[in-house]
C-alpha cells in the first residue's frame, strides 16, 4: 500500500483571542501546529502500513515554515514528506488547493490511498478531500471512523453519519477523510525524531509540479473573501439571584409563562 497523507499547518486556534481595543486577533504566543484532525489521518496511514506493508508519504502545501509539520509527520511514522511551496500558491481556496494537491499526488505515482483529516480548524470547510478525489477521478468516503479490512484492491470501512454509522466498501485507489474517533495518535518515537531531524524534504514548486498557473493560488480560486468581521454577541440574559431553591422556582415559572414547558 502506497499511502499519501495530506496535512496542513494551522494556528493553534484554541488560544485565539480578540484584542478588544484593536478588534484584531492576538497572535502573540500563538504557535503553528499540525491541524489536529490531520494527526488522526497520519496515524491511520501508519497503522495501515504496519498492517499491510508499503509506505506513507506526508504532503503539505504552505509557506516554507510548513516544513515543520512534515518533520513532525516523519517523527510520528511517515516514511517520506513533500512540501508544496511557491509564492504563486498563496491565497488558494479549496478548489485551487485540491488541484495543487492532486497534481502532487499524480506526480508521486501509484498512490493506493489518500487520507485527509475531516476538516481544518482554521478554515473549517472539509471540502479539500472530496474535491481532491474528484480531480483525481477516484472514489471518496468522508468521516471514516474505522478501517475494517483491505484486500484484493478493495477496502471495507465504517463512516459516521448523523444518526449512526455506515459500513461501506470502496475500490482502491480512493480518498478518505477521517474523524478523531478512528484512533489515538502515537507520540513521536526517539528513532522517528532522529529521522525527522536529518530528513531531506523536497520542495515542489510550480515548475516541479508542472501545473497550470491559472489554477493555483489566488488566480485559481473561484471564491474570494471580500469582508472580514467579528461576530457581535448581543447579550440580553439574566443571571438569577437568591437562594438556589428560589432561583429554580422562578426559572420554572418563567419557562411556564412562555409556554416552553
Amino acid at each position: 500500500m502506497n499511502i499519501a497523507v495530506c496535512l496542513k499547518q494551522v494556528p493553534g486556534t484554541t488560544k485565539v483571542k480578540v484584542d478588544p481595543q484593536t478588534n484584531t486577533l492576538v497572535r502573540q504566543g500563538i504557535e503553528n501546529i499540525v491541524n489536529p484532525f490531520d494527526t488522526y489521518a497520519l496515524e491511520e496511514g501508519v497503522r495501515i502500513k504496519e498492517r499491510y506493508g508499503g509506505k506513507v508519504t506526508a504532503i503539505s502545501m504552505g509557506p516554507p515554515q510548513a516544513e515543520a509539520v512534515l518533520r513532525e509527520a516523519i517523527s510520528s511514522g511517515a516514511d517520506d514528506a513533500i512540501l508544496l511551496s511557491d509564492s504563486a500558491f498563496a491565497g488558494a481556496d479549496t478548489l485551487a488547493t485540491a488541484y495543487t494537491l492532486a497534481k502532487a499526488i499524480e506526480r508521486l505515482q501509484e498512490c493506493d490511498l489518500i487520507i485527509c483529516g475531516r476538516q481544518t480548524v482554521d478554515g473549517d470547510t472539509g471540502q479539500v478531500a472530496p474535491e481532491l478525489a474528484e480531480m483525481l477521478g477516484i472514489p471518496f468516503i468522508a468521516y471514516v471512523s474505522q478501517i475494517e479490512e483491505v484486500s484484493n484492491g478493495y477496502m471495507r470501512l465504517q463512516r459516521m453519519v448523523e444518526d449512526g454509522h455506515e459500513v461501506m466498501e470502496t475500490p482502491l485507489p480512493a480518498v478518505i477523510s477521517v474523524v478523531k474517533e478512528i484512533n489515538v495518535p502515537r507520540l513521536p518515537s526517539l528513532r522517528g525524531l532522529t529521522k525527522a531531524k536529518s530528513a531531506v524534504i523536497p520542495v515542489w514548486s510550480i515548475s516541479e509540479l508542472g501545473v497550470d498557473k491559472t489554477r493555483v493560488g489566488l488566480s485559481g480560486s473561484a471564491t474570494k473573501v471580500i469582508k472580514i468581521f467579528f461576530p457581535q454577541r448581543v447579550h440580553h440574559g439574566e443571571i438569577l439571584q437568591g437562594e438556589l431553591e428560589n432561583q429554580v422556582d422562578s426559572l420554572v415559572e418563567k419557562l411556564r409563562e412562555v409556554k416552553i414547558v
Binding site: V16, G91, L95, A142, E162, E166, A222, I239, V248, I260
Partner: protein, 393 residues
C-alpha cells in the same frame, strides 16, 4: 504572494496594522511588512490612504453569460422522507429568487419520496425529481453525476445544499467537476443588488471571525448551510408549481463505492434536529453515569439529550449527541446547558436557540454570555430541583 507593499508610497503611518484581522502586519524600518498567513482579504488596502498596498487580483477571464439563472436548493431525503433542511433553504432561497426576480427550484434524488409537492408549498417554482430504486440510501457517486448533469443542462446561477454529512461529502465533488467555487457552512446568504452576486457569510477560525465570500467569475455560485441555521417558512398548499420527473439511466453510471450496512445509533431517542427542547451536558458532569440525571430531566420535559465535545471525547456519550462546530447545529425553543463552559466551538452550534438556560458553578463561564437565564450553582443540586418542580406540574 498576491499582496505587496509599494515601498515608495508607504510612509510607515501604521494605519494598516490594526486593520488586519489576523494581525499579520508589522512595521520594519518604517515600512509595512505583511507576514505569512495573509488571506488577501483586502482590509489593509481599505485602511491605507497612500495606495501603498497592492493586491494582485485574480484573472477574471471568464465572462459570466446571462444564461445562468435561477436559485436551486438540493432537498435531501432519508428513507423517502424529506429533511427539514431542504424546507429551511427554500425559505432563504425564495428571498434570494425574489430579489433577483428569478425562479426557485428544488432538486430531489431518491426512491419513493413522499410529499414532494410540499417543496412547492414551501416556495419552489419547480421540482426536478429523480425517483429510482438505485438512488435510495444517499448514493453519493450517483448523486454527484446526476446533479452535475442537471446543472450543466439547466445552468442555475446559485446552488445551495444542506451541510449534512451527505451534503458535505458530495457537494464539493460537484463543485470540483464544474470547477466552481463552494462556500461551506454559510450562516448568511444575501444578494448584492448592484452586482447581483451572492454574498456568502460564514464563521471561520472556530467561530472567532466571520468572512463574507463571493464567487465572481464561475457559475453556479455554490454554498452549503447547516441545518437549523435558517428558519422554515409557512407552507402554502395553494402555491402552484411544476414537478419535473427526470429519467435516470442506471446503465451509464454505477457507483464504485457500496453501502453494505447501516447501523443506527439507538441511544438517541429524541432526535436533536427535531427537538423543541434539548438538555445538554458538558465536562462538568464528571463521568458517564451522570448523564442519567440529564436523561431524567430530558424525559420529564420530552427533550432530546445533547452534549458538548468533552463528554464525547471521554466516551461518556456517542458522537451523534454532540452539538457544536464538529457536531450538530441546533436551534430548539429551549437549550439547557448543564456543566458546559461554552467554548466558542460549542456556542457556534447552539447560540441561535430561542431560549438558553445555563447551569454552571463557574460564574465566569462564557456560556453565561449567551444565556437567556443563568443559574450559578452546582448542577447536581439544580437539576434534581428542576426535575422535582417539573414533575409537580
Amino acid at each position: 504572494m498576491g499582496i505587496q507593499i509599494d515601498l515608495d508610497n508607504c510612509i510607515g503611518c501604521g494605519n494598516c496594522l490594526p486593520a488586519c484581522p489576523y494581525g499579520l502586519i508589522e512595521l520594519i524600518d518604517e515600512k509595512a511588512r505583511i507576514n505569512e498567513g495573509c488571506t488577501l482579504c483586502g482590509a489593509c488596502q481599505e485602511a491605507c490612504e497612500y495606495d501603498a498596498i497592492l493586491i494582485e487580483a485574480a484573472a477574471e477571464t471568464v465572462e459570466i453569460s446571462d444564461s445562468h439563472h435561477g436559485i436551486w436548493v438540493f432537498a435531501e431525503q432519508r428513507d423517502g422522507r424529506l429533511k427539514s433542511v431542504g424546507y429551511e433553504l427554500l425559505a432563504k432561497g425564495r428571498q434570494l429568487a425574489d430579489t433577483l426576480d428569478t425562479e426557485l427550484c428544488a432538486v430531489c434524488f431518491g426512491h419513493n419520496i413522499n410529499e414532494t409537492e410540499q417543496l412547492i408549498a414551501y416556495g419552489a417554482d419547480k421540482v426536478y425529481l429523480i425517483d429510482n430504486p438505485a438512488l435510495a440510501n444517499n448514493q453519493e457517486e450517483l448523486y454527484t453525476r446526476e446533479l452535475v448533469k442537471l446543472i450543466q443542462q439547466y445552468k442555475p446561477a446559485v446552488v445551495v445544499a444542506g451541510a449534512t454529512s451527505l451534503g458535505r461529502s458530495f457537494i464539493p465533488r460537484v463543485a470540483a467537476i464544474l470547477r466552481t467555487g463552494l462556500t461551506a457552512d454559510c450562516t448568511g446568504l444575501e444578494i448584492d443588488t448592484e452586482t447581483r452576486l451572492l454574498m456568502q457569510t460564514r464563521p471561520t477560525f472556530g467561530g472567532n471571525i466571520m468572512a463574507t465570500i463571493i464567487c465572481q467569475a464561475k457559475r453556479p455560485q455554490m454554498s452549503t448551510v447547516r441545518p437549523r441555521v435558517f428558519k422554515k417558512g409557512t407552507p402554502d398548499n395553494k402555491r402552484k408549481g411544476q414537478i419535473i420527473k427526470v429519467d435516470f439511466n442506471g446503465e451509464s453510471v454505477t457507483s464504485r463505492t457500496k453501502l453494505l450496512n447501516f447501523v443506527e445509533d439507538l441511544t438517541e431517542r429524541v432526535k436533536l434536529e427535531d427537538a423543541d427542547i434539548i438538555v445538554s451536558g458538558g465536562r462538568g458532569l464528571g463521568k458517564a453515569e451522570n448523564f442519567q440525571l440529564l436523561e431524567e430531566l430530558a424525559s420529564v420535559m420530552g427533550a432530546a439529550l445533547g452534549s458538548s465535545r468533552p463528554p464525547v471525547d471521554h466516551g461518556w456519550i456517542p458522537y451523534s449527541h454532540q452539538v457544536g462546530q464538529t457536531g450538530k447545529t441546533v436551534c430548539p425553543k429551549l437549550y439547557i446547558a448543564c456543566g458546559i463552559s461554552g467554548a466558542v466551538q460549542h456556542l457556534a452550534g447552539m447560540q441561535t436557540s430561542d431560549t438558553i438556560l445555563a447551569i454552571n458553578d463557574d460564574p465566569n463561564a462564557p456560556i453565561f454570555e449567551v444565556a437567556s437565564y443563568g443559574i450559578v450553582g452546582d448542577l447536581f443540586k439544580v437539576v434534581p430541583m428542576m426535575i422535582d418542580r417539573l414533575k409537580k406540574g
